[in-house]
Symmetry: C2
Subunit: 135 residues, 2 copies
């Protein structure tokens, strides 16, 4: 399969394929007599694996590690699990942070409904005050 067909099927830019090849995520495919890349059908699944892992928050370095693990034994499974648990915990921590920020922002917005002096904005004042209060 040629470059653009693979790119289309996997939903990526053709340049991305060359980029992944440069990075070592994709091994160099065989070439046609004319010099065109000729990808095996399995490449589609590989690319989808990469994209899926990225959606889950893995960096390309981590994806590469995962791919490398794919050929190992039970040790590799443990390593993959550790990687996944790390990403999972990262995400959980990040969600907690964002939730806190969301809640404070929601609180700030709520101050808009408080009575206030004619020319002052309770929301703006509250943001200023909360900036002061940051440890």
């Amino acid at each position: 399969m040629r470059t653009s067909e693979l790119a289309d099927r996997a939903g990526v830019n053709t340049e991305t394929l060359r980029y992944y090849e440069r990075r070592g995520l994709l091994t160099e495919p065989p070439r046609t007599p004319g010099g065109y890349r000729d990808y095996p059908a399995a490449s589609v699944g590989l690319l989808r694996f990469i994209k899926r892992a990225q959606e889950l928050g893995f960096t390309l370095d981590e994806v590469e590690e995962l791919l490398h693990l794919d050929n190992g034994g039970p040790d590799s499974c443990d390593a993959a699990r550790a990687l996944a648990e790390h990403r999972r915990d990262d995400l959980a921590a990040r969600i907690r942070d964002l939730q806190r920020m969301h809640d404070s922002l929601a609180d700030l917005v709520a101050t808009c409904d408080l009575p206030r002096a004619d020319r002052s904005c309770a929301l703006l004042e509250a943001i200023t005050d909360s900036a002061e209060g940051i440890r």
Copy 2:
């Protein structure tokens, strides 16, 4: 307070202060007769607010917007409120996205405890399978 003192207190590089100034996040502080920047004490709190917001996933553009809610940006409290509400909703959406990623990853990790063939990794297979499932 001079550049390095502010940088130390806020836990940033001195170059970062110049960078923020160029970006308009920090207004140009007054200068000493020798031409050195002389920051007001309030800058420490401002920088900490910026850093905290960044840790929570706000881009510097967003931080700038938040800060502009305070001084002179949109004059109307209603506009400020709309901006804050927009950020709040953005945040809620981002949390939902991350939660989805987190849950998928947690599900994947759970597959590690499933019985599996000797030399296969349920996690890696599961990522592959969920990649197949993308349209």
